[in-house]
């Protein structure tokens, strides 16, 4: 008998099953006994305390309103007080069990005792949060049904063949209906969880489109093109690294550079080669440097110019550059410092030294007169230089110029 019931109720979800059992009115006593048997049979080999329904069973066992035979039945299932007849009892049918029940042989423990024995699990199921633990059963009696109405009285039962009366109902229909609607979990307090507002749409998020320029793929028209662009200039400049070029050759270079603004980047003069060009063709060097002034590499050219050996030509180049373009202040300063130290280092050859000093003095005077440098920046350095070489006429002249500016 139990087995057949097991089968028909086997699909019921456990949580709801428990809550339905708490409702005394709904199931007949025999049904309830069967239900508890099923609960037990789901976990027959384990200790009762492991059974997830143990709290339901305990509650029923201690409920005074529950029929004694039912409570005793549960105590047997729980093996309370070393009751060990559960196997025999389960062999009986529910009706036979109730008939054979003898209330005098049983005493009923308090709920507390049972809880101590089988653990104090307030709820059941896998849920971990307290809201679920506090869930209440979802099933209510319809309050429109009068309180005093005893559903077990046959008065309003549906009579086979008879006309249904108002208020009549069928227990089985209700039970199956409930079983059909049951879901896990009880009714718990619910939190209001406001949805985050949509991230505001700024007008710039909507894409306003402007037509682009036509970015077409381009054909490389240098393919197989005449590579002689600037070849003559390049060849002339190679020559110019070694000898001074003739005026007409210089003219050729200047015109070619003027005609093609970008040619200067392709003429083959690298910072490394610049000093040679400066020594032999200072005018061409000035021309090239002036055109390279926007190049990102111009600093390298300047560095090459500063670090090359001092000479009339390098000074000429720098002097001309100062009038043609705006040179970085640090560069001019470094160059002057370099000039002064070259003069001091040329001690072995007095003649060379004198010549250098005179050149530097003339160079400095020209810079000062053209307002290229601010004397204040270099005053002490230049003054010391003038005093060191006061025996030379040009140095004395420079010294006087400094004094007038003071």
């Amino acid at each position: 008998m139990f087995n057949s019931m097991c089968h028909s109720l086997g699909l019921i979800e456990f949580g709801g099953f428990g809550s339905m059992l708490q409702d005394l009115m709904l199931l007949r006593s025999t049904d309830r006994i069967i239900a508890f048997a099923i609960m037990y049979q789901c976990y027959p080999s384990q200790k009762p305390s492991v059974n997830p329904f143990v709290s339901d069973m305990m509650n029923a066992a201690c409920n005074e309103q529950v029929e004694k035979h039912e409570r005793a039945f549960i105590l047997h299932l729980l093996q309370w007080n070393s009751y060990n007849k559960s196997k025999e009892i389960l062999k009986l049918s529910a009706v036979d069990y109730i008939k054979s029940f003898d209330p005098s042989t049983h005493d009923f423990p308090e709920l507390g005792e049972l809880q101590r024995e089988y653990g104090d699990k307030a709820g059941s199921g896998p849920s971990s949060h307290i809201a679920a633990d506090y869930a209440v059963k979802k099933l209510l009696h319809d309050p429109d049904v009068p309180r005093g109405c005893d559903p077990n009285s046959p008065e309003f039962d549906v009579q086979p063949g008879g006309n249904p009366k108002i208020g009549c109902g069928d227990r089985d229909e209700a039970v199956t209906g409930i079983l059909g609607s049951l879901t896990t979990g009880g009714l718990a307090p619910r939190w209001i969880r406001p949805c985050p507002p949509r991230y505001p749409v700024h007008q710039s998020e909507l894409l306003w489109i402007d037509p682009d320029n036509k970015h077409e793929l381009i054909w490389d028209d240098k393919m197989c093109a005449d590579t002689s662009r600037g070849a003559t200039v390049r060849d002339l400049l190679v020559k110019g690294l070694k000898v001074t070029l003739s005026p007409s050759e210089q003219e050729d270079i200047t015109t070619a550079l003027a005609n093609d603004a970008k040619l200067v980047y392709h003429c083959g003069i690298t910072p490394r080669k610049l000093p040679q060009l400066v020594e032999h063709n200072p005018q061409i060097a000035v021309e090239i440097l002036t055109k390279l002034i926007n190049s990102p590499e111009i600093v390298d050219y300047f560095t090459a110019l500063v670090s090359m050996d001092m000479s009339l030509h390098s000074m000429e180049v720098v002097n001309r550059l100062t009038t043609a373009v705006e040179l970085p202040k640090e560069f001019i300063r470094m160059y002057i410092t370099n000039c002064i130290s070259s003069c001091e280092n040329a001690k072995q050859d007095k003649y060379m030294q004198n010549r250098l000093v005179r050149l530097v003095c003339v160079f400095l005077q020209s810079l000062i007169r053209n307002n290229i440098i601010d004397v204040k920046d270099l005053f002490i350095e230049v003054q010391a230089f003038c005093i060191d070489f006061s025996r030379i006429r040009e140095a004395a002249g420079l010294f006087r110029l400094l004094k007038t500016l003071e």
């Binding site: 609607s181 970015h215 077409e216 793929l217 054909w219």
Partner: protein, 777 residues
């Protein structure tokens, strides 16, 4: 190497060399002319011959790749990129060799031009640009830009314009200024070339009256008049207006073209220098306006766009008008924006009609007229697809294909209309372009959340659609029972196709978005440190000083009138950076709030708590997000069985013993307000967009009541919970969650009559008959 002419010359037989040279030269010319006339088959035949004569010349291979690409109707961009990259590598290797040569003197005359890969690099960048990979395009062009001085002017201009367009597309104001500064130096329109502005200022008053008379339609043509009438009347009634506009556009199409060709064809006329400089001048002025629009400096943009109109008056002013329209749009003057958009005439050309429809759609969206906007956007998409079908295919028509951008707009629109599935599809398509933008991912996550709320998610009925309570009435007569079911049963739409949206997807999108946001924040702070801009600006400042020398006092006066000096640019940029910082901050708050919400929905209170806590730790957060942070943290803590801490979060808003203050005000809902200029003419329009999605402050207060009640109830303090739930239900009479909590409390204190009465009062409860038939057992 052997076949390269200059080397061959060294080997002797100059005569042979010359013949070879002239032959290849002639072939190259033929190839070019075939290419230009679109005969790509013939062109490739010649290139193959050339390749036989000059084995592995990178330039021949390069042109071959380009011609092949066009021959195949621009269909295989991937192959083009591979080919171009191979050519680039090859020419770079060849370029290294002469430098490695020991004796520098002997190699001096070998031109490096032969192995110059500039054109190849530019073409690679162009290809990426057309694939909408703007950041990549910029990074490829960067090395070229660093060494741009030696390059030919035409190529240099092309590089710079491509960089400007890419920088605009990436919203990269700093990079934009870097490039613009260079162009400014070389072509001298500039931010503040004084005499130019001085002279045009005199002109401009004249000119302004001209344009305004144009707008008031007194002197305009009939077509224009009806355009304006359509626009005007349109604003009154949505449906009608839209038809009018469409009818006008149709009418325009039937008329012969008026000869408005948007600027931008300057690169073809580059031969003559005078034309070049003038057109570049206009172009730069237009770019300047676009920069100001990007940095949202509306005031200055207004002035500069006038200047652009002056320059453009003799040629083509459609682009200037379009920018003017955009300006009014940005300013919130939507009527004016519509007028200008119509006047610009871009709707008349097939190439730009999609752009017209899109932009008009943007305006209608801002007006809150979603229906019209959606029609316009779908028209725009149709325009684009018809452009794609054009024959012969031109590459620029690919770049004119803005369909992915329009698709993004559609996504925003659908989301606003409450159509999360469509919106998500749009965003997913647009992700090809925008996948690096954090906002895109947030929007997709929002689609998921909206779908969840609408019960459109797979398995939505089990997760938590909590919009309704159902009470099943089971059994009859004396057996009648009530079964409460808080999870409403979701009716699934007829289609068997399930959307791919889900909460786990939302979670992934949010973390993507957060990642991208953090990366961009890191980059921002880095670029602040480096700040190449200030250096650049100082440079140009010095240059302009030296140019104008002693005229300084004079020019300063003019500058104050109409010019735009570096300080203003700098201010504009730093103001823009501020705006971006604020937006990113808000975005971060939104992301964290959404994360906490999604984690709660996914029943993962630990993660939800950590997101909510990070949200609360952000400084200067919006009050709305602070509120959400508290409420999510409280719920997560409650779920984690830490009711004490949960209570602390809620009671932050407690006013006295039993009352809550409003956690935020309605004004807090307008975070964009601050960006709006105060002299916005149609203020009523500004707020329409946001109103629908907001959480009302009063509702938030109700939520606090209900949640504190729920917290008390779970702790068993029913007496304390009762007044709070009563308050909650007064504020939110039909709230499902609050009703359930109230029912719970009633049941717990044994008042099931009250509980049922409550259920009957709530309008969102439906009583449904039991679903199972009685079966004879």
């Amino acid at each position: 190497m052997d076949s390269i002419p200059s080397d061959a010359a060294r080997d002797g037989s100059i005569c042979d060399e010359a013949i070879v040279l002239s032959v290849t030269c002639a072939l190259a010319k033929d190839a070019l002319s075939y290419f230009q006339s679109g005969k790509f088959h013939e062109c490739i035949d010649i290139l193959i011959q050339l390749n036989h004569k000059k084995r592995n010349d990178p330039k021949v291979l390069h042109n071959m790749a380009i011609a092949e690409y066009f021959k195949n109707a621009c269909s295989n961009s991937k192959k083009l990129l591979e080919d171009l990259n191979t050519v680039k590598k090859q020419s770079e290797e060849l370029a290294k060799e002469p430098l490695e040569a020991v004796n520098p003197a002997s190699n001096v005359s070998v031109s490096k031009d032969l192995f110059d890969s500039t054109v190849t690099t530019l073409n690679i960048a162009v290809t990426w640009f057309h694939l909408h990979q703007y950041a990549k395009c910029l990074s490829i062009l960067d090395p070229l830009f660093l060494n741009i001085e030696p390059l030919d002017e035409t190529i240099a201009l092309q590089i710079c314009f491509l960089m400007l367009d890419s920088a605009l597309a990436c919203h990269d104001a700093v990079k934009f200024l870097e490039v613009f500064g260079h162009l400014d130096k070389s072509f001298g329109v500039g931010f503040g070339t004084h005499e130019e502005i001085g002279s045009t200022m005199q002109l401009s008053s004249n000119q302004v009256s001209k344009t305004s008379s144009l707008l008031s339609s007194s002197a305009a043509s009939d077509a224009l008049k009806s355009d304006l009438a359509a626009a005007e009347s349109g604003l009154c009634e949505e449906g009608l207006e839209y038809d009018n506009v469409l009818a006008e556009i149709e009418a325009e199409k039937r008329m012969k073209p008026v000869g408005h060709i948007p600027a931008n064809n300057l690169l073809k006329t580059i031969g003559e220098r005078s034309i070049l400089t003038v057109d570049v001048k206009l172009e730069l002025q237009l770019y300047k306006v676009r920069f100001l629009l990007l940095t949202r400096n509306v005031k200055l943009a207004k002035r500069e766009v006038k200047h652009a109109m002056n320059i453009a008056q003799k040629r083509d002013s459609s682009m200037a008008l379009l920018l003017k329209s955009q300006l009014e749009y940005a300013h919130g003057n939507h009527r004016k924006a519509i007028k200008l958009l119509l006047v610009s005439g871009i709707q008349k050309e097939l190439r730009t009609s999609g752009i017209f429809n899109n932009n008009l759609g943007c305006i209608y969206y801002q007006l809150g007229k979603y229906q019209a906007a959606s029609v316009l956007f779908s028209n725009a998409l149709r325009n684009c697809s018809s452009l794609r079908k054009d024959n012969p295919v031109k590459l620029f028509s690919l770049s004119q294909d803005k369909s992915l951008l329009i698709t993004y707009n559609c996504g925003v629109l659908y989301l606003a209309c409450g159509k999360p599935l469509l919106a998500a599809q749009c965003f997913q398509k647009a992700s090809l372009v925008f996948c690096r933008q954090p906002l895109l991912w947030l929007r997709i996550a929002e689609c998921c959340i909206l779908a969840l709320q609408k019960g459109l998610l797979e398995g939505g009925n089990t997760s938590s659609d909590r919009s309704e309570i159902r009470v099943h009435v089971i059994g009859k007569g004396k057996w009648r029972q009530l079964m409460m079911e808080e999870n409403g049963f979701v009716e699934l739409g007829g289609s068997a196709q399930w959307p791919k949206l889900s909460l786990p997807l939302a979670r992934v999108c949010l973390s993507n978005s957060m990642y991208l946001l953090n990366v961009s924040l890191m980059n921002d702070s880095k670029s602040d440190l480096e700040s190449p801009l200030s250096v650049m600006i100082n440079d140009t400042k010095e240059a302009s000083w030296s140019d104008h020398g002693d005229a300084n006092t004079n020019s300063e006066l003019k500058e104050a009138k109409g010019g735009m000096n570096q300080d203003i640019i700098q201010n504009s940029l730093s103001a823009y950076k501020d705006i971006r910082r604020r937006e990113n901050h808000l975005l971060k708050q939104a992301l964290l709030a959404n994360m906490a919400y999604v984690e709660l929905e996914l029943e993962n209170p630990i993660k939800a708590l950590s997101a909510a806590n990070s949200l609360l730790q952000l400084p200067d957060s919006s009050k709305i997000y602070v509120f959400l942070g508290h409420i999510y943290a409280a719920e997560a803590l409650c779920l984690l069985n830490r009711p004490g801490e949960a209570g602390a979060h809620l009671s932050a808003y407690l006013l006295g013993q039993e009352d809550f203050k409003l956690p935020f005000a309605q004004e807090d809902f307008d975070p964009w307000r601050m960006n709006m200029s105060s002299d916005c003419e149609e203020t009523s329009d500004c707020s329409t967009g946001n109103a629908r999605d907001s959480l009302k402050p009063e509702e938030a207060r109700g939520a606090l009541f209900a949640n504190l009640a729920a917290l008390f109830a779970t702790q068993g303090h029913y007496d304390q919970a009762k007044p709070f739930i009563q308050h909650a239900l007064t504020v939110l009479p039909n709230n499902v969650q609050a009703t359930i909590t109230a029912v719970y409390i009633d049941l717990m204190v044994g008042r099931s009559q009250d509980a049922v009465a409550r259920l009957k009062q709530c309008t969102r409860v439906s009583f449904v008959p039991g679903r199972l038939e009685v079966r004879a057992s």
